[in-house]
């Protein structure tokens, strides 16, 4: 893989005040730093979720195992699911988006930098609150979907469910605030010439996800608030013995839960829509189809929630509708897959680690997609529901799909974010080990599921015929752990000793490659002007626009790249307004967290909890005051 010949971009150091050391991170409003904080904290949570999965696999490796008690096993699968979805995949995507979206659209930061900081802190505190539950009586043990009435106080007496409610409540607020930020940033802060239909596809997918998020999350928020009231304040929303409705919980949860699947997968589809063209040396095939089929997926995603509920017995009409709508989603998804394949067709493929992951994504996602189509059919679904077949399906989509897509993105953008290259040889070892062990872990689950093995059981009898498949799955999962250790080692060594990354190591087409690696605090000294979907290829290959739209001739790599957008001298710089560092978002988040603790114990320890809530509100108020002050100082009019 040719690494461009020029040295790291050397832009004059920024004249912006950044506090040194830890203070710089705690008070940052820079989208790049916040992006890194998302990625690091999400990866830590991801590793914890992975350990929980390993513990479950060890327990299930042999029949009648006693490694975990049933209750601990329940806590493990609940925390594994909740962690991977809310604290792993989502924030990994948000982290990449936070770092890359402003760069890709030619902006200096997100639209609301302080709100961005609030999002990261609320996310971190929400995740920590969820994990506090382990130390105060036990983690939630009701599944990540928290079906009623299992979540009611009499069946789940520990505070675990309350921590689950408040923990994902905080991350939910963080997600909605983040989504608002993405919407405004993407719609309103594009560089001149970057029309919607010239945006990089990763940006398109982040925009769609942000819209899904602001409409899906409030429904989960309401459902969890109602659950909280049921548990502590005497209501009966989900208590069937008092006229409440356990199925209503399922409707509300999956009205959120299914769009959530697209919140997890669409950004990674965006990532590979960037990676595949770069390493195929061709523009993406059918740009508009890829973009708008993403819109179609986002829209249809709101109409299919009850395919998670075929076994409830909603009646043939409802099942037929939701089954048909689910089949319909296969169409835009298939369109994307054909576009990706056509992008690679006759391209000059560079099989970097990032590209391998993108190709791995397509392969594994197709398998997960096909098992998904079988599950969209109500009669088959009724056979497979709550079996390991479903576990296999969702892991092919979310691990084989989303996680591999995220790795494609991490190997692609790591040089941009850190200024160092990841080790490609280790990366390829990791890729192959991961691909093999992933299939070793999850493919047998199709078979154990078909053989009748239900989900969420902590052990099984030896004569059920599931022993072999479970043993293979467990061995596969241990190898998967090795693959992650290789990645961890790769990151830790490369960040210190890896080769220095040039500004544009992959000969990319999008604007993030126009600035140094890592980019200066202000991103762009001069706001770039955009004339096509591939602004940087326009600069580097002026003849390209003549063959725009033709997919026959791969882009031919030329000699040393010239400087592109960095040419502009600092003298030409317009005055750059960057938000000042501030602790206000951190203070507000601490206040909200204390408020959250108060809410958890309000039902049981009224007075103490109420005082805690009051303290939380006061801290919040103090934070908001300093927030308003700093935003006034920062406003562009303040100086004059």
């Amino acid at each position: 893989m040719a690494i461009a010949e020029r040295t790291a971009g050397t832009v004059s150091p920024p004249s912006v005040s950044v506090r040194p050391g830890w203070a710089g991170w705690l008070s940052t409003t820079d989208h790049k730093r916040i992006g890194i904080m998302y990625l690091v904290s999400a990866f830590v949570f991801f590793l914890i979720g992975g350990i929980e999965a390993l513990l479950m696999r060890i327990q299930l490796g042999t029949p009648n195992n006693t490694f975990l008690t049933p209750d601990v096993y329940n806590q493990m699968f609940t925390m594994h699911g909740t962690t991977m979805i809310f604290l792993g995949l989502m924030p990994l995507n948000v982290g990449l988006g936070n770092y890359m979206v402003p760069l890709m659209i030619g902006a200096r930061d997100m639209a609301f930098p302080r709100l961005n900081a609030l999002s990261i802190w609320l996310f971190i505190f929400g995740g920590l609150m969820l994990y506090v539950s382990f130390f105060v009586g036990g983690a939630p043990n009701v599944g990540w979907f928290a079906y009623a009435p299992l979540t009611q106080k009499q069946f789940a007496p520990t505070a675990g469910v309350d921590y689950w409610i408040v923990g994902i409540g905080l991350t939910g607020v963080a997600s909605i605030a983040g989504a608002l930020n993405f919407i405004v940033t993407i719609l309103n802060m594009r560089a001149p010439g970057m029309t919607l239909n010239r945006m990089p596809l990763f940006v398109w997918m982040q925009l769609i996800v942000a819209f899904i998020l602001i409409f899906a999350f409030p429904v989960l928020t309401v459902a969890t608030i109602q659950l909280l009231f049921d548990r502590h304040f005497g209501t009966r929303f989900f208590l069937p013995n008092l006229g409440g409705d356990a199925v209503l919980w399922q409707h509300l949860f999956w009205f959120f839960g299914h769009p959530e699947v697209y919140i997890l997968i669409l950004p990674t589809m965006g990532i590979i829509s960037e990676v595949l063209p770069t390493f195929s040396r061709k523009p993406i095939f059918g740009y508009a189809f890829v973009a708008y089929s993403g819109v179609a997926i986002g829209f249809l995603g709101f109409l299919v929630w009850a395919h998670h509920m075929f076994a409830v017995g909603l009646g043939p009409l409802a099942n037929a509708f939701f089954g048909a709508a689910s089949f319909l989603i296969a169409v835009p998804t298939g369109v994307k897959i054909f576009n990706w394949l056509a992008t690679m067709w006759q391209g000059s493929l560079h099989l970097t680690t990032s590209m391998l992951y993108a190709i791995g994504f397509i392969g594994m996602f197709i398998i997960g997609g096909i098992s998904g189509i079988t599950l969209a059919s109500p009669p088959i679904n009724v056979q497979q529901t709550d079996s390991y077949y479903v576990v296999a399906h969702m892991h092919y989509v979310l691990f084989g799909g989303a996680i591999q897509g995220i790795f494609a993105g991490i190997f692609y953008w790591f040089p941009k974010m850190t200024g160092r290259m990841l080790d490609e040889r280790l990366g390829k070892w990791q890729f192959w080990l991961m691909l093999i062990s992933f299939n070793l872990t999850f493919f047998p689950m199709h078979l154990s599921g078909n053989a009748g093995m239900p989900r969420r059981i902590y052990t099984y009898e030896a004569e059920m015929g599931w022993n072999l498949w479970n043993l293979i799955s467990t061995i596969g999962s241990l190898l998967l752990a090795v693959a992650f250790l290789i990645f961890l080692w790769n990151v830790l060594t490369s960040i210190r000793r890896g080769p220095i990354a040039p500004a544009d190591p992959w000969d990319g087409a999008t604007l993030e490659w126009a600035v140094s690696s890592p980019p200066p605090v202000y991103n762009f000294a001069v706001t770039p002007r955009v004339r096509s979907r591939r602004p940087l290829w326009d600069e580097k290959y002026p003849h390209l626009h003549e063959v725009n739209g033709s997919h026959e001739a791969p882009v031919v790599r030329r000699g040393p790249l010239h400087d592109g957008f960095e040419r502009e001298t600092p003298e030409a710089m317009e005055p750059i307004h960057l938000p000042s560092p501030t602790y206000a978002p951190l203070i507000v988040s601490v206040g909200i967290m204390i408020l959250g603790f108060g809410i958890i114990y309000l039902g049981d320890f009224g007075l103490i909890a109420a005082s805690a809530m009051l303290v939380g509100l006061l801290i919040m108020a103090a934070g908001i005051l300093s927030w308003v002050r700093i935003s006034h100082v920062d406003s562009p009019h303040h100086a004059h």
Binding site: L180, I214, V222, G234, T235, F237, G243, L252
Partner: protein, 203 residues
């Protein structure tokens, strides 16, 4: 650079933005979209349980409990507060500080009157035997209207913070936009009450 200020009417083209809409205004519109789903879920829950409530042995009839006269007054108060909000924004754009203060504080006052009226209503219903746990009606009614009341309270705090910010920085050119986006939220909360009033109290 923003042209909007207390002294220059109708100049709202803030920084250059791709859509030509102020960033914060766009953000608040998107937030209102999100809040719509929040209240839609609460209202849907109310309607899912309304017929179940009727068949329960502990059935409580909304018509026996809800006082249309009181809530009509409350609805009028909130509707009037939308008018004073519009007048406050208009005064703010004109740069008329005295009328801006008057109309904004009137809006705050009407908001507080609504909250007071709701507190009275809740207290009254509680003494009549309607509680969170007395019936499905109590469960769904208090959570729905309670969260609306919470939104009104947040709106009042938002308006007050705008009031104090404008007082502290009277010459900030962002004042008109501060007032406008607080107003957007206020009108939304008002609109939600119209929906609740019609769907829960009148039907």
């Amino acid at each position: 650079m923003s042209e909007s200020s207390m002294t220059r009417p109708h100049a709202t083209a803030a920084h250059h933005t791709s859509l030509g809409v102020d960033n914060r205004k766009l953000g608040v519109w998107a937030f209102i979209g999100s809040e719509t789903l929040f209240f839609a879920t609460l209202i849907t829950t109310y309607f899912v349980f309304a017929p179940v409530n009727r068949m329960r042995p502990d059935f409580q009839d909304p018509r026996e409990f809800l006082d249309i006269e009181l809530t009509t007054v409350l609805a009028s108060i909130l509707l009037a507060s939308s008018l004073t909000m519009v007048l406050a924004l208009s005064a703010s754009r004109r740069g008329d500080r005295r009328w801006f203060t008057t109309w904004l504080l009137a809006t705050v006052g009407l908001g507080l009157a609504f909250i007071g009226g709701q507190a009275y209503e809740f207290n009254h219903l509680y003494h009549e035997g309607l509680t969170l746990s007395s019936s499905l009606f109590g469960t769904t009614f208090f959570v729905l209207t309670g969260f609306h009341g919470t939104h009104v309270a947040i709106g009042v705090i938002w308006l007050l913070s705008v009031f104090f910010k404008v007082r502290a920085y009277p010459d900030s050119p962002e004042n008109a936009m501060d007032v406008e986006i607080a107003g957007l939220y206020w009108h939304f909360v008002d609109l939600v009450w119209v929906a609740i009033f019609v769907l829960v109290y009148l039907i």
